[in-house]
Symmetry: C2
Subunit: 284 residues, 2 copies
């Protein structure tokens, strides 16, 4: 089955789901959208073949179900899929953590084909209003296989990734969760702690005295709290492990600073400088 | 004395000094540049009236000296000013920390007029090659008075700030140093610890799996190590104090995450979300 012949239902029309709608239009057989916000359904209605406030209404005729809600809502949806699709279907999710979702997918009946996905694109804004057709363009789209993953679904997922302009990267769920703990969830926590600690100065002039470095350092603290809560609660193990690694690096810096150990401190900063530039070279 | 009648010598033609040259051209009586890098002097020569590798060569006829070298070099230059200018002159510095420099300025002979400055603009790139005429445009330019500050010098500094398109903000040196510790120096340390802790995963795929959130969170870790060393060594007191406040916020988050205390965690994240948006509203 090619994408052009596939009937796709997307559940959760926020930034990710809404951007997917915009980039998949015209490339798929049929497009349906499910969201519990009526105002979002009105906005997306002109772009798709069907809208519904409940998955049970839109389930019929769906070949590929794309789950684009917050993580724990995805976990519940995957658990309940057999009641919506007695004959099974293909499922791809876009959740930010992959361990729990992968376990739920593996527990689906054999009539289901399922694969985990995580497009590495985001904005500090969220919701359908922030959706854009090129959100996925040039970004990495992580895929996590599980025991319900089939070659047919993989081919379809790779075609979808190609159509939206992203590049696939296969990772096992544990590696995925460790990587995003390190590059996304711990950075969120450090931005949040930074924002709180500066706000505690309780002096409005501090914002005037701040520059672009603070704007970038604090940006993730403006992420949607409910979305982040879901992420933190479903990935606390890898996050706590990485947070511990982070704290020990920060403690080294603090010790060098307290000691005024200039030579060691410079050596440390030069290593970080080299690591930053190796990272920038790697992402191009 | 107006800026148009003022002979200005800028010492240190990097990002800040070089951008100042570009934005002051045509608005001052005479412009001279001092830098110890001959290749920089060749690049800046066509833009100014005089270039020199040493301040002693360029000192004659200078009304206003602008010191735009790293902080500890500024401290040494201010200490040695009486040997370059036996009859005194006006001095403005652009150093990133203001405590030590302010003390050195206050100790100058009465023939000197001096004021501390800190334009809140930066880039992760440095050096004259990165200089642009609009670097100061729309940015806050902090001024710190000391016992050698005169109304005449203040008027001239405010005119210079106006010409480069910045907005003045008066702070006392201690408040300045506490603010930049909070919004710039601690964020540098957290970005550095973040970069080191992710690099320790030693798996190139982690960079592919990273998104724009990590790019922004880690950006400050690419700052020039020698410049940052100067900043850390001259502002370690305020930095260590603010780092302690930061660590205690991070520890709260870690405790809530370990306990899986969902309600408290959400409350915490919602407060941060509100603080972030209050900050963004404040900076416009």
């Amino acid at each position: 089955m090619s994408l052009q012949q596939t009937s796709i239902t997307i559940v959760g029309i926020g930034l990710m789901g809404g951007s997917l709608v915009q980039s998949l239009r015209g490339h798929v057989g049929r497009l349906a959208c499910v969201d519990n916000d009526p105002s979002v359904l009105e906005l997306v209605r002109p772009l798709v073949d069907e809208v519904a406030s409940d998955l049970s209404t839109a389930a019929g005729g769906t070949d590929l179900l794309v789950l684009a809600t917050p993580v724990r809502s995805i976990v519940r949806l995957v658990r309940d899929l057999p009641s919506y699709f007695p004959d099974g279907c293909m499922v791809l999710d876009l959740g930010s953590t992959k361990g729990e979702i992968g376990q739920m997918m593996a527990a689906l009946p054999p009539a289901f084909q399922a694969i985990g996905g995580h497009p590495m694109c985001g904005k500090e804004t969220s919701g359908f209003q922030a959706a854009v057709p090129d959100l996925y363009q040039g970004q990495t789209f992580i895929l996590c296989r599980n025991s319900r993953t089939t070659p047919e679904l993989e081919r379809l997922a790779l075609e979808l990734i190609d159509v939206v302009g992203a590049q696939p990267l296969y990772l096992d769920p544990d590696t995925h969760d460790a990587f995003v703990a390190a590059t996304s969830h711990v950075p969120y926590l450090t931005a949040a702690a930074l924002m709180r600690s500066v706000s505690m100065l309780a002096d409005g002039r501090v914002w005037q005295a701040s520059a672009s470095g603070f704007r970038d350092s604090s940006r993730l603290s403006g992420s949607d709290p409910k979305m982040m809560l879901d992420i933190l609660m479903t990935n606390s193990g890898p996050i706590l492990a990485q947070l511990s690694a982070y704290r020990s690096q920060l403690a080294q810096l603090e010790t060098l600073l307290q000691a005024g150990d200039e030579a060691e401190l410079l050596d440390w900063l030069e290593r970080v400088y080299a690591q930053y530039h190796a990272y920038r070279d790697a992402i191009g």
